[in-house]
Amino acid sequence: MGDFKPQIIAFCCYYCAYAAADVAGSLRLQYAPEVRVIEIPCSGRVDPVVILKAFEEGADGVYVAGCLEGDCHFLKGNIRARKRVEYIQKILSELGIEPERLAMYNLSGAQGDRFAEIADEFTARIKKLGPSPVKVGDSL
C-alpha cells in the first residue's frame, strides 16, 4: 500500500482553478504529481455522468475546482457545481464508495498556493483512503 499512487482527476474551471494551477506553475510551487487536470470553462459545466464514469474507469479520487463562491466568472456556475457534487457524493455513498473521494474546492485565479495545497491535501486524503473500491472490489 505504501507505493499506492492514486489516480486523481481534477475538473478545473478555466478562469480560476486552471489559472491558479498556472500560477502555481509560474511560482514553481511543488505539489503532488498524481493530479490530472481536465479543463472545463466553468465548474458549472461539471457533468455527473462524466464524474461517475471517472470512478467507473478507476479514478481513486475526483475533485471539481471552481472560483470562490460569489466570484464565479459565470456568476453562479460554482454553486451549481457544488450542489451537483453533493448529489454525486450521495450516489457514491449508496454505491459503497467513500463520498470523500469526490470533493468540491473553490479558489481564485491568483491562488497558486491554494491550488498546490489542494492538490497535496486531496492526494493525501486519497492515499489515506487507499485505492478505489471499484478497482479493489468488495471481496478484498
Partner: protein, 1013 residues
C-alpha cells in the same frame, strides 16, 4: 467611401508605430483591429522591448515572457501590422493625416524569408561578444538571435563584430545569409505616427559610490532580472559573478541615478518602477533560493499602483527586509568579494555585509530620443523624454504625432499598455474618415472538410528550452505519444511557439495529412490562440486542436519527481489525444454590431472616452448619475504641472455637450442591461423617465470619491479639512495670508487594515498644495506627516521644490500615527519625529487630511449588472493586471479611470482614451463572429423542461415557438451550466461535450503504461 472623405486633406488610413515594445504592440494591435494598416518599426531585431528582458511581472508574479509571447506572435501574425526590424524613423514630412515617414532600414544580413531560425550559423560563428540583452553576463556570437523567443524568430548579424569569415554562409543550408545586404530608405505614407521607443536604464557605473563596474558582485537590476530568467545567462540561478556562488545575503539599493539631481549623472525625477521591481526580484530570488536573505535599502517605498502595497506586505511576510535609509557607500572586501554597505538611518550610520548588491538603476530616456525627436519634429522635455501634456499624456508637440510608454516618462507595464491604446485612439480620432481604406483582410486557406475522416493526429511536444525538458523526459513523451492510437507521429520542439516551429507544424500537417493536432507545451490560457491560428493557416478547423499543459502544470511543479512528471506528461498527452479524436469542427457566424457606445460616468475619464469615440465617428450615450458633468474634476483647482484643471473641465464639458455624436443623460442610472457584445440593450432611469438604448459596447467610468473620515477630529473641529476641501480653499484663496502653521497628514485611512492600498494621488496633491500655500503665504510653516512620499515620476520635482521652499516632511509610522487635540487657538498635533528622535507638538490653524480614494457608491450594483468582478477594495477588476488593464472578462465591456484604481487626471484621461481604442476594436466592425464553444440544443432530445432556462446565470436560454429550448450562440457565454443540468442530455457545450470529457478520462486509464512509468 474614401472619395467622400474630403479631397482637401484626404487622410491616409495607415499609422506608423515606432517601437516594438509593449506600448508599440498595444497601439499597433488596437489600430490594426479597428481598420487601420500599421507599420511597426523597431531598431531591435525582435519585438518585445523591455518586457522581454523581465523574468516576472509584479504584482502577480506572472512570467513576463509568457504574457509577451502571444502578444508578439499576435502582432507578427496580424495581417494589418507590417513589421520592419532594424529600422528607424529618419524624417517625417507632411501634415497630420498625410505624413510621409522616411524610414531607414538597416540590413540583418539574414534574409528573413529564408531563415528558419535553426541556429547552426551561430554554432559555427567564431566571434564571441558580450550579450547586451543579458546585461553583458553572457556571450553571444556575431550572428545571433536576441533571445530564444524572439519574434520574428530570425537570426541577424552584428556587423560591427563580424570578421567576415563566412563560416555561417557555408553552413546555412537555407541560403539565408547575405553579407552584401545594403541599408534601404523607405517612404511610408501614413496618417499619424506613434512614438514608443521605450526607455533605457541608467548606467550605474557612472556613479562611483556603488562600485558598479569595478566590484564584480555589484550588479544592476536588469542583470539580476536576467539571472532570474530561466532563459537568461544563468538559467534562473542567482550567481555571484566573482565566484559563481549563490549569494546568501543580497542587498538592493534603490534610487540609483534617480531622485538625485545634485549629481551630474543623477536625475531629478523618480523612476517610478524600481521599488516594485526590486521587491519582485527579491521575492522571486527568495523563491529560487529560499535560504537567501534579502534587504532592500530605500528612501520611500513607492508602491502606488493597484495591489502594490499588498504585494509589498506579502514580501515582508515572506521575510524580505525593507530598510529606509540613505546609502553612503558600498565597499568590497577584496579577499571575499563581499560588499560592505554603509547607510544612514535616523541620523546614525550603520554598516552591513552582503554577498551581492543589486542596484535599482533608474529609468533614462531612450538613447535614440534626440535623433527621434529631430526626425519626428517633436520637442523633448527637460529630462529628455517626449514633451507631452500633463492632461493629454500621449500628445506630443507636433499634431498627428503621438507618444506612448516609457518615452513619455517612467511608468509601469499597465500604464504603458494604456498609453499604447490611448495613442491608438488619438490616431484613430484623427484618421476616422480613412478607417478601413488601407485595411487588408485576412484570408485563410479553405478549410478542409474532414468531418467523416478517420482521425490522423500529430503530437508536438515542446521542450520550452529547458523549462519542460529540464524535468520531463521529452523524447520519452514523444515516443509514447507516437505509439498512441490514431497518432500518426510525434515531434519535439525546443520552443513550439517559435515562429519557425509554427511554420514547421503547418508543413507537417500538410506533409502527413494530419487532421488533428495536439500540442504538449504550456497553458491554453496563453498559447491556445497562437496554435489555433496555425491550424487555421494550415486549413484545419481551429477546434481540431488540443493542448496538454506539461509545463505550468507539470514540469514546473514536479521538479523533484522527474520520472513521475514524465509519467504525468504522458498521461496529459494521452488525454489530449483522446479528446482531440472526438473534436468536431466549429464555425463562427457573423452577427451585427450596433456601432454605438454606452459610457457610464461623466467624469474626466468618461468624458474623454466619449469624446474619443465620438470623434472616431461612433454614437455615444453618456450617462451621469449627478445633475452635472465632470465628476471629481469639479473639485480640483490647482494647476498641475502648468495646466489648469478648471480650464480642462470647461473645455471638456463644452465639447461633450456640443458634440453631435454624444447624447448626455444626467441624473440617470443604468438599471438593466441585456444582450451581448456588439448588441447590448440597456435601460436607463432618467429622473421619472425610462430610456431604452441599443449599443455595441459599454465603458464604465464611475470614478472614485473621498472616503468618509472617522478620526482626526474631522467633523468635530472645523480646522480639520480634507484634501479636496483644501483644493477649494486654495483655489478661492481666502485668508491664507493669516495662517501660521498648516499640517498635512498623509495616508488617512489608506494603507492600513481594511484598506490595504495606496490612494496614489494624495502625496502629489499634498505637495502641490504645500507649494501653493508657500506661494500665497511664504511665511507659513508647512508640515507634511507622511509614511512614504509617493511623488512618483516627474512629480518628484514638486517634492524637491517643496522641500526647498521649506516644507517640512516628517515620517510617521502606522503604529504611531499623529494625535490631534482641539485647542482654542489651534489644533495641536503630536507626532514622533524619527529624524530628531523626539515627540513634536505642532500648533496648526489648519490640518489637511489626505483622505483615501474609494470607489463610487453603488459600484457593486453596477458591476453586478455589467458582470464586472470587483476586488476586495471595491475597485473593478480588469481581465489582466498587466496586459489588459482596460478590458474586463465580460465581452464588450471596458473600464477606465478611477473605478479601476485611484489615478491622476492625466492617467484617467489616458485610460478613457485607451478604453475608447479598445471599444473601437469592436465598434469598427459591422459584424462580430459568434459561436464556437457555446451551448447547442439538440431539439429532438429537448423535453422543454425549462431547466436550462432556470439555471443559466445570464438568462440566455428560452423555450422557442416550436417548443424546444433555444440558446443564442452570440449571447451564450459558454459556461456550460445548462449542459451540466439538462436532464435529457439535450444540450451540449461544444468542445466540452460529455463524450469529449469522458474520452479524456478514459484515455487516462487506458494509458496505464504511462501512469506506472
Amino acid at each position: 467611401m474614401s472619395e467622400h472623405a474630403g479631397v482637401k486633406t484626404k487622410a491616409v488610413g495607415a499609422v506608423l508605430v515606432v517601437g516594438g515594445g509593449i506600448a508599440g504592440m498595444q497601439a499597433a494591435s488596437d489600430l490594426a483591429e479597428s481598420g487601420f494598416l500599421v507599420y511597426m518599426i523597431t531598431f531591435d531585431d525582435s519585438l518585445g522591448g523591455r518586457m522581454a528582458k523581465l523574468d516576472k511581472t509584479f504584482p502577480t508574479n506572472e512570467c513576463s515572457m509568457c504574457l509577451l509571447g502571444p502578444k508578439m506572435t499576435g502582432s507578427l501574425n496580424q495581417v494589418n501590422i507590417k513589421l520592419l526590424t532594424r529600422a528607424k524613423l529618419s524624417n517625417l514630412l507632411g501634415q497630420p493625416g498625410r505624413f510621409t515617414a522616411v524610414v531607414e532600414r538597416y540590413p540583418r544580413y539574414v534574409d528573413e524569408s529564408r531563415c528558419t531560425g535553426c541556429g547552426q550559423c551561430a554554432e559555427v560563428c567564431p566571434v564571441k561578444v558580450a550579450d547586451e540583452f543579458n546585461g553583458g553576463l553572457s556571450q553571444r556570437r556575431a550572428i545571433y538571435k536576441q533571445f530564444p523567443q524572439a519574434v520574428p524568430n530570425k537570426f541577424a548579424i552584428d556587423k560591427e563584430n563580424c570578421i567576415g569569415c563566412m563560416k555561417c554562409v557555408k553552413v546555412c543550408t537555407a541560403k539565408a545569409i547575405d553579407h552584401r545586404q545594403q541599408p534601404e530608405i523607405l517612404e511610408l505614407s501614413v496618417g499619424a505616427v506613434i512614438l514608443a521607443p521605450g526607455f533605457d536604464s541608467f548606467d550605474a557605473s557612472l556613479l562611483g559610490e556603488y562600485g558598479m563596474g569595478y566590484y564584480p558582485n555589484v550588479v544592476s537590476n536588469i542583470q539580476f532580472e536576467r539571472m532570474l530568467s530561466s532563459t537568461g545567462p544563468t538559467g534562473g540561478r542567482i550567481y555571484r559573478p566573482s565566484d559563481r556562488k549563490i549569494p546568501r545575503r543580497v542587498a538592493f539599493i534603490q534610487c540609483v541615478g534617480s531622485r538625485d539631481y545634485r549629481n551630474k549623472y543623477g536625475a531629478e525625477y523618480c523612476s517610478a518602477v524600481c521599488c516594485m521591481a526590486s521587491v519582485k526580484e527579491a521575492v522571486i530570488a527568495k523563491e529560487h533560493h529560499p535560504e537567501m536573505e534579502v534587504t532592500i535599502f530605500y528612501l520611500d517605498m513607492r508602491a502606488h499602483g493597484k495591489n502594490f502595497d499588498r504585494y509589498v506586505n506579502r514580501a515582508l511576510a515572506q521575510g524580505i527586509k525593507l530598510q529606509r535609509c540613505l546609502i553612503s557607500s558600498v565597499k568590497e572586501d577584496p579577499a571575499t568579494g563581499n560588499l560592505n554597505v554603509s547607510y544612514c538611518e535616523q541620523g546614525e550610520v550603520y554598516t552591513a555585509d552582503f554577498d551581492m548588491v543589486v542596484l535599482g538603476a533608474g529609468v533614462r530616456p531612450p538613447g535614440s530620443a534626440g535623433q527621434l525627436a529631430r526626425s519626428a519634429g517633436i520637442e523633448l522635455n527637460r529630462y529628455g523624454f517626449a514633451r507631452t501634456g500633463e492632461f493629454n499624456p500621449v500628445e506630443t508637440t507636433r499634431p498627428g504625432v503621438f507618444a506612448a510608454g516609457g518615452f513619455i516618462g517612467p511608468r509601469d507595464i499597465p500604464e504603458t499598455v494604456v498609453n499604447g491604446s490611448a495613442a491608438a485612439a488619438a490616431a484613430a480620432e484623427l484618421l476616422s474618415a480613412a478607417r478601413g481604406s488601407m485595411e487588408q483582410v485576412v484570408r485563410y486557406p479553405r478549410e478542409k472538410d474532414l468531418q467523416n475522416r478517420q482521425p490522423r493526429v500529430g503530437v508536438f511536444v515542446c521542450c520550452c528550452g529547458s523549462n519542460i525538458a529540464g524535468v520531463v523526459d521529452v523524447p520519452a513523451v514523444v515516443k509514447y505519444a507516437s505509439s498512441l492510437p490514431a497518432v500518426v507521429n510525434a515531434w519535439q520542439f525546443t520552443y513550439s511557439c517559435a515562429q519557425e516551429s509554427l511554420q514547421r507544424v503547418k508543413e507537417i500537417i500538410e506533409q502527413y495529412q494530419l487532421n488533428r493536432v495536439v500540442v504538449a507545451a504550456c497553458s491554453v490560457r496563453t498559447h491556445l490562440p497562437l496554435f489555433r491560428e496555425t491550424l487555421k493557416q494550415a486549413g484545419l478547423n481551429q477546434y481540431y486542436l488540443e493542448m496538454a499543459n506539461i509545463r505550468d502544470q507539470c514540469s514546473w511543479v514536479h521538479r523533484d519527481y522527474p520520472r513521475r512528471a514524465t509519467a504525468k506528461a504522458k498521461d496529459l498527452v494521452a488525454m489530449a489525444v483522446g479528446k482531440v479524436c472526438r473534436n468536431q469542427p466549429l464555425h463562427l457566424e457573423p452577427v451585427p454590431v450596433e456601432q454605438k457606445a454606452l459610457v457610464v460616468g461623466a467624469g474626466i475619464a468618461g468624458m474623454t472616452a466619449s469624446l474619443s469615440l465620438a470623434d472616431q465617428g461612433y454614437g455615444v450615450y453618456l450617462v451621469e448619475r449627478r445633475p452635472y458633468l465632470g465628476g471629481l474634476l469639479n473639485r480640483l483647482y490647482l494647476p498641475q504641472r502648468g495646466e489648469n484643471p478648471r480650464d480642462l473641465l470647461r473645455q471638456k464639458i463644452e465639447a461633450v455637450i456640443n458634440h453631435p455624436n454624444i447624447t448626455v443623460y444626467k441624473e440617470a442610472e443604468l438599471t438593466h442591461l441585456s444582450g451581448r457584445i456588439g448588441s447590448f440593450h440597456s435601460t436607463l432611469q432618467v429622473g421619472e423617465k425610462t430610456v431604452h438604448l441599443h449599443h455595441g459596447v459599454v465603458i464604465t467610468a464611475t470614478g472614485n470619491c473621498e472616503a468618509p473620515v472617522r478620526g482626526y477630529l474631522y467633523g468635530k473641529d472645523n480646522r480639520v479639512i480634507t484634501r479636496l476641501e483644501m483644493e477649494k480653499y486654495l483655489g478661492e484663496n481666502k485668508n491664507i495670508d493669516r495662517l501660521n502653521t498648516v499640517v498635512f497628514i498623509q495616508c488617512v485611512e489608506s494603507r492600513q487594515q481594511g484598506r490595504e492600498y495606496c490612494s496614489r494621488t494624495c502625496c502629489v496633491q499634498t505637495v502641490r498644495q504645500a507649494l501653493a500655500l508657500k506661494e500665497l503665504n511664504p511665511g507659513v510653516n508647512v508640515y507634511v506627516l507622511y509614511r512614504d512620499v509617493r511623488t512618483y515620476g516627474f512629480m518628484e520635482r514638486d517634492y524637491r521644490l517643496a522641500r526647498e521652499k521649506g516644507v517640512i516632511f516628517i515620517n510617521y509610522d502606522l503604529d504611531k500615527p499623529p494625535v490631534l487635540r482641539s485647542g482654542s487657538e489651534a489644533v495641536d498635533v503630536d507626532v514622533y519625529d524619527p529624524a530628531c528622535r523626539e515627540e513634536l507638538q505642532l500648533a496648526a490653524e489648519l490640518v489637511v487630511l489626505a483622505t483615501a480614494a474609494v470607489p463610487s457608491e453603488g459600484v457593486e450594483k453596477l458591476a453586478g449588472l455589467l458582470k464586472i468582478p470587483v476586488n476586495e477594495d471595491g475597485f473593478l477588476v480588469e481581465t489582466h493586471a498587466k496586459l489588459a488593464p482596460l478590458d474586463v472578462p465580460a465581452p464588450g465591456v471596458f473600464i477606465c479611470g478611477a473605478a479601476h484604481s485611484p489615478q491622476s487626471i492625466g492617467e484617467a484621461m489616458a485610460q478613457g482614451r485607451g478604453a475608447a481604442a479598445r471599444a473601437a476594436t469592436i465598434l469598427s466592425k459591422a459584424h462580430l463572429l459568434a459561436g464556437g464553444a457555446v451551448a447547442r440544443v439538440l431539439p429532438e432530445k429537448c423535453a422543454a423542461c425549462l431547466t436550462c432556462v432556470r439555471v443559466c446565470p445570464y438568462g440566455v436560454p428560452r423555450i422557442g415557438t416550436d417548443n424546444v429550448a433555444e440558446i443564442s450562440a452570440v449571447q451564450c457565454q459558454g459556461c456550460g451550466t445548462c449542459a451540466g443540468a439538462c436532464p435529457n442530455r439535450a444540450i451540449t457545450l461544444e468542445h466540452y461535450r460529455s463524450e469529449q470529457l469522458t474520452e479524456k478520462v478514459r484515455a487516462l486509464f487506458n494509458g496505464e503504461v504511462a501512469s506506472s512509468g
